[in-house]
């Protein structure tokens, strides 16, 4: 083994599924608008929202933002994988056909082109969380062990299917 192995079929199917996840997330997220009409009725006996009612509404808004960010990140993962694969097959011409087959599918079915209702580049940043929300990340996802810390090329988390080898 020369340290890494890239099967473009795998990379492109991951891209395709990431796009699919983004599209499905966008579709599900629209359902939360059906909660808007409930807001004035989340209220006590006098029709006034209590602190708890207001926090439920705040959490609905927050949830909406998490879903938009998730949608955006799936979309960006798809875009980054697709771009990396495109770069990769410039040098590994044997897999050019595999890449082209996926590209034809993507073009034919508008994969990666769905209207997500958001600008993924704008929504991909962290959602603002309320005071008291944790900053900690799970084991292995924290800044210290951030796998992306090692990346040297700064143009994308997944760009370069193996940066050790450069591209």
């Amino acid at each position: 083994m020369d340290g890494f192995h890239v099967d473009i079929d795998v990379v492109m199917s991951l891209a395709k599924n990431s796009y699919s996840a983004a599209e499905q997330y966008a579709q599900i997220t629209t359902k939360i608008t059906r909660t808007d009409a409930a807001t004035p009725h989340l209220a006590d006996k006098f029709g006034a929202a209590t602190g708890a009612d207001s926090d439920v509404v705040a959490m609905l808004d927050e949830f909406y933002e998490y879903l938009r960010t998730t949608t955006a990140r799936y979309q960006l993962v798809g875009e980054q994988l697709e771009a990396s694969a495109r770069d990769y097959v410039q040098t590994d011409t044997e897999q050019q056909d595999v890449y082209n087959r996926y590209q034809n599918d993507f073009d034919a079915y508008d994969i990666g082109e769905a209207d997500l209702g958001i600008d993924p580049g704008r929504e991909a940043g962290d959602t603002d969380r309320p005071d008291g929300a944790t900053d900690a990340q799970p084991d292995g996802f924290g800044t210290d062990e951030n796998p992306a810390e090692n990346i040297e090329a700064g143009d994308g988390y997944l760009s370069g299917l193996d940066p050790e080898e450069g591209n």
Partner: protein, 383 residues
């Protein structure tokens, strides 16, 4: 848009209560004059000055006046008390001039002379009854939790949308909740899609044999490791928020129904014609929080989207039943009702506190979840 259906229903119930209360009071006041005894104090209290009815003349008018046609008010009451006593007038006749045997009557052990006519005060008393029945209704109405502007349909739509989202995110209901719900059925394949992407950090995925190296490891351990925990948390958050909306709706609905049922039962108790009171009880429900009984909160490292689904206006919130027994006399029934309403409003305060506690627990749990498991691993910082 508010739903005015409830406001209409409770107003109608109170109206019926007031009318029935008044009919019973007319009888009580009539009997009090007949028997020359105290009128019991209504819920809202007796007026400061009632016309004096404990007189030989009123006694004679009510008890002996039948021979000359009787008291117009008594006749009106006995005929069913239709309309208002204000439309009736009574000439206060006691006897004809030739009824020499009624020139004196025995009143409270004393032979007392009475005239042919007296000023009949029963009309004034009945007018006072109308007033205090209205005051009683007002006292009860003011003690009821109004819940006048709430639209349960809007809350149900919101809850169903969230349950449907939980279904889309792959939620499966646990055995303790309401079980299967059509709202959970999804037409999407998002869980399958995410399964194709997700890499458990402890186990390699098939695709990792075909794409290896530093970039593949980074993808596997970063973004793709965060996909399934994020998905499951979305299922749990959607269901949790739906459950909290359901809890608020249950509070609204239950205390509306409690109010209607208490007023209607009190009215039924007033309608009774015997003193058998055993079957004139009413049960009402106190809404309780879920507390720790149901886990609705997201967890920091979920590996399953098992949710506790609570049915719409579900029984899980309604574990406590309280009851009230209604007495026979109208002043007691009104007081029973008022006491029950005050107690119910106290229970509502407890339900609000339980709801607040459930919201707080959910908020605390949500805040404890790392952003990586709420919106995926942050790839944007690395651009």
């Amino acid at each position: 848009m508010p739903d005015y259906g409830y406001t209409y229903e409770i107003d109608s119930a109170l109206e019926h209560f007031e009318l029935t209360l008044r009919e019973r009071w007319y009888q009580v006041v009539k009997e009090s004059v007949f028997n020359q005894v105290d009128i019991p104090a209504p819920l809202s209290g007796l007026p400061g000055s009632l016309p004096e009815y404990r007189t030989a003349e009123m006694f004679a008018h009510i008890n002996y006046g039948q021979v000359v046609g009787g008291c117009a008010y008594v006749n009106w009451i006995d005929a069913g008390a239709q309309g208002s006593p204000g439309s009736i007038s009574c000439e206060g006749k006691i006897r004809e001039s030739y009824h020499y045997d009624l020139e004196t009557i025995e009143y409270q052990g004393v032979e007392t002379e009475v005239p042919e006519y007296t000023r009949c005060v029963l009309g004034d008393l009945l007018g006072a009854v109308e007033q205090w029945c209205w005051n009683d209704r007002k006292l009860i109405s003011d003690a009821l939790p109004p819940f006048a502007t709430h639209n349960l349909t809007a809350l149900e739509d919101a809850r169903n949308a969230l349950v449907s989202m939980a279904g889309d995110f792959g939620a499966t209901p646990d055995a303790g909740g309401a079980g299967a719900d059509d709202a959970l059925v999804t037409g999407l394949t998002l869980t399958n899609t995410v399964d194709l992407l997700f890499v458990d950090r402890d186990r390699d995925k098939d695709w990792m044999a075909e794409w290896t190296g530093a970039a593949a490891d980074r993808a596997a351990n970063g973004i793709f490791a965060s996909t399934k925990p994020t998905l499951f948390n979305h299922a749990i958050i959607a269901n949790g928020l739906g459950t909290l909306i359901n809890e608020r709706a249950t509070i609204i609905h239950t205390y509306q129904q409690n109010s209607l049922s208490l007023v209607r039962s009190a009215t039924a108790a007033l309608d009774q014609t015997t003193t058998t009171t055993s079957d004139h009880t009413n049960e009402w429900k106190a809404v309780q929080g879920l507390g720790m009984a149901l886990s609705i909160v997201p967890v920091t490292a979920p590996y399953g989207a098992v949710i506790s689904l609570v049915g719409w206006l579900g029984e899980q919130f309604l574990k406590e039943t309280r009851s009230v027994s209604f007495s026979f006399t109208p002043h007691e029934v009104a007081r029973n009702l008022h006491d029950a309403v005050v107690e119910m409003d106290g229970a509502l305060t407890g339900s609000e506190a339980a709801y607040t506690q459930d919201v707080l627990e959910f908020r605390t749990a949500l805040n404890a979840v790392s952003s990586t498991f709420l919106e995926l691993y942050d790839i944007s910082e690395n651009r």
